[in-house]
């Protein structure tokens, strides 16, 4: 789960990290009056879950009321990589001499968190990591001990941060790790930490993503979740509780188990089709879940054909078949052709139950996918 910049900054500020003066605004008038109160220059920043907002025109610097009005008007309501901007953060412009990067994330290869500091702040840190990895000082953290103070200092000095601000930056890094741990973050970063012309440090941006699996013990953060999705279908999947990813093809895919569903997508591609989505109904799915899954793919206007691939372990083929029948029998006309392949637990019973007037049945995964790809090609002609 992603927090907005303004939400993360509130949390950072509560923890003692210096942030610029700022106000959230949902309208142009609100934005202008916030700017007047804060004083110019102000940055007007789109609050959407999208990286690279600056380049995409989602952040502008206004030096007077006219510009504030103009830019707020530009940004509010704009479409930023598929997300509509409903809110902007109006923030005091910082007179800075230097920009640093400070962050904590999980190094899955090592199985432990890693703290990172770089003097190349203000740009995409993943590009820095790619092009000039030595520009990022890293300290792996033993999660049983947490980040030792000496480690924060070591990362800061090894990154080449100026000695005059080293203590302030170490302190920010230590606080970031504490927040990372207390709030179950998956990533937490400030890019850039600005060194002001007065030699102070201030968090000019704020990224904080929370481990979805830990939201149960972070109720305050769970409440902050902004349920805006890239599109309605992902929202629907969230409501149904499916693992769902929308893609740009036309073959709708439903299956059980992440690896098998990915494989089904890959086979669609392999046989010359284009997958429309990843949809995992999970283990032990009952009829209702199957019905919801079919509703999902039928709701996707790009979908021209559907493949339903189940290999039952806990999931029972007869339950799945019942769900498919129920879902499809409710239609006067089946919206798109559905190819079903059932294997594993109670697959035979399922095959018997399946209403073959409504679906096409295949024995093997490969055959099922090929048939669905053909169906999609026919339907889209």
């Amino acid at each position: 789960m992603k927090l907005h910049e303004y939400q993360a900054k509130d949390i950072f500020a509560d923890a003692g990290i210096p942030i610029p003066d700022s106000q959230l605004a949902a309208s142009v008038d609100e934005a202008v009056s916030a700017a007047e109160e804060i004083g110019y220059p102000v940055a007007i920043k789109a609050q959407v879950h999208v990286g690279g907002r600056g380049k995409a025109g989602g952040i502008k610097l206004a030096s007077d009321a006219d510009e504030a009005r103009e830019y707020a008007d530009d940004i509010l309501g704009m479409d930023l990589k598929g997300y509509t901007v409903d809110q902007v953060l109006v923030e005091a412009g910082v007179d800075f001499t230097n920009e640093l990067y400070v962050g904590v994330t999980m190094d899955r290869g090592e199985g432990k968190p890693v703290a990172m500091v770089s003097t190349e702040g203000g740009v995409n840190i993943e590009e820095v990591a790619e092009e000039n990895p030595d520009a990022i000082a890293r300290e792996h953290i033993d999660p049983a001990f947490g980040l030792h103070p000496y480690q924060a200092r070591k990362a800061v000095y090894n990154a080449g941060v100026d000695r005059s601000v080293a203590r302030g930056v170490s302190s920010i890094l230590t606080t970031l790790y504490d927040l990372y741990e207390e709030r179950d973050a998956s990533d937490i970063e400030i890019n850039p930490v600005m060194i002001t012309s007065d030699g102070d440090v201030v968090a000019a941006d704020a990224v904080m993503n929370i481990d979805d699996d830990a939201l149960f013990r972070q109720p305050e953060l769970a409440e902050m979740e902004d349920e805006t999705y890239e599109d309605d279908l992902e929202q629907k999947a969230g409501e149904y509780g499916f693992d769902y990813v929308r893609l740009d093809g036309n073959v709708g895919i439903i299956g059980n188990g992440a690896g098998l569903v990915m494989t089904t997508l890959d086979l669609v591609d392999y046989y010359g089709g284009k997958p429309a989505n990843f949809l995992d109904i999970g283990g032990g799915a009952k009829a209702e879940r199957v019905t919801n899954a079919l509703d999902m793919v039928f709701s996707d206007e790009n979908v021209d054909a559907v493949v339903f691939n189940i290999f039952g372990g806990i999931t029972r083929g007869d339950e799945v078949a019942k769900g498919i029948n129920e879902a499809l029998e409710s239609f006067d006309e089946i919206p798109k052709k559905v190819v079903v392949r059932l294997a594993g637990t109670n697959a035979e019973e399922g095959m018997e139950i399946l209403n073959t007037d409504l679906v096409e049945v295949e024995e093997t995964l490969e055959d099922a996918v090929q048939r669905a790809v053909e169906n999609a090609q026919e339907a889209s002609q």
Binding site: G51, M106, R108, G109, G111, K112, P113, E126, E127, A129, E130, D142, P143, A144, E181, D184, S186, D211, D213, A214, F216, R217, D243, V245, L247, G255, N256, G257, A258, G259, L260, V261, M262, T263, L265, D266, L267, V268, D269, Y270, P275, F278, D280, G283, F311, G312, G313, I314, A343, G344, T345, T364, L365, E366
Partner: protein
């Protein structure tokens, strides 16, 4: 022969009184697994299907000589259950639970470096030695005894590949689901090295997927240390970057690490054929035998 589990393995089920724990204990017993105890705090003294329940794993080990544990405990309490298993002198702990917070697993990972107990999972289907024992939720009926080892990050993909093998009459020594989480106990290299040491395993199927660099490490290991031939499969070739594909660990990073291409090419470089379809994986294995 087999690796890690066989019909001598004495299993304690953590969370045996819960719905999933109870159901799969029945399934495991029906398969012939030697389930000797359950462990659930506050439920000591009860029985589940005639299996004695203890309040602690410690007591289950002392009283019933359990040497392996299967963990069906909800995510909020699962890391504690894993710690409990790791701090008893079990040989193996199999964590089925999906959705354990990643930072909990980082702490577990730290403890793993301090214990001799092996962890499998979490978020895995478990392990099966056909005809002898299964620890977890794998559907026993699709497996058959044979000479091919199988290790996979995915449950149902494992079943699929096993199905393709079975159709050719090829059975398994042991099949291991290592789990789909970003931080897991036993990884590909661990499992591959066990298969390499196992005299009965003549070939190994390794099913990887996008995310992380375990497959690349496995490729390096195969190249340097394995004589047993390996056939590979990598799921997620069509996954877009930045999207979690079902498994918490199945994600190509924004900067482009963890891709299927990288894994496939690493495996190919190590001499491992990577099938485009599960059927091709079975072809490759058949060619080894």
């Amino acid at each position: 022969m087999s690796i890690l589990v066989d019909d001598d393995t004495r299993v304690v089920v953590q969370g045996i009184t819960g719905g999933e724990g109870k159901f799969h204990t029945g399934q495991m017993e029906a398969y012939g697994t030697n389930v000797v105890a359950g462990a659930v705090p506050g439920k000591g003294g009860q029985e589940v299907d005639g299996i004695p329940v203890y309040d602690t794993v410690d007591e289950a080990v002392r009283e019933e000589n359990a040497d392996a544990s299967v963990i069906f405990v909800p995510p909020a309490f699962a890391a504690d259950a894993i710690f409990e298993a790791l701090d008893t002198d079990l040989d193996l702990a199999v964590a089925i639970t999906e959705g354990i917070p990643t930072q909990d697993m980082a702490k577990v990972n730290k403890r793993l470096s301090e214990t001799d107990t092996r962890l499998l999972g979490p978020n895995c289907p478990g392990i099966i030695t056909p005809g002898e024992a299964k620890l977890g939720i794998l559907p026993g009926n699709i497996f058959s005894d044979g000479n091919v080892g199988l290790v996979s990050r995915s449950g149902t993909l494992t079943y699929q590949v096993v199905d393709n093998l079975t159709a050719r009459g090829i059975g398994q020594t042991t099949a291991i689901g290592i789990g789909g989480d970003p931080i897991i106990g036993t990884d590909f290299v661990d499992a591959l090295s066990l298969f390499e040491e196992d005299d009965e395993t003549d070939a190994v199927v390794m099913c990887g997927e996008i995310g992380g660099e375990d497959e690349e490490e496995a490729a390096a290991f195969i190249d340097e240390n394995m004589d047993t031939p390996v056939a590979g499969f990598i799921a997620g070739r069509t996954a877009p970057p930045g999207k979690r594909m079902g498994h918490a660990g199945a994600i190509v990073s924004g900067s482009g690490t963890g891709t299927a291409e990288s894994k496939i090419s690493a495996l190919n470089d190590a001499g491992v054929p990577v099938g485009d379809t599960p059927e091709e994986v079975a072809d490759n294995i058949e060619s080894f035998l």
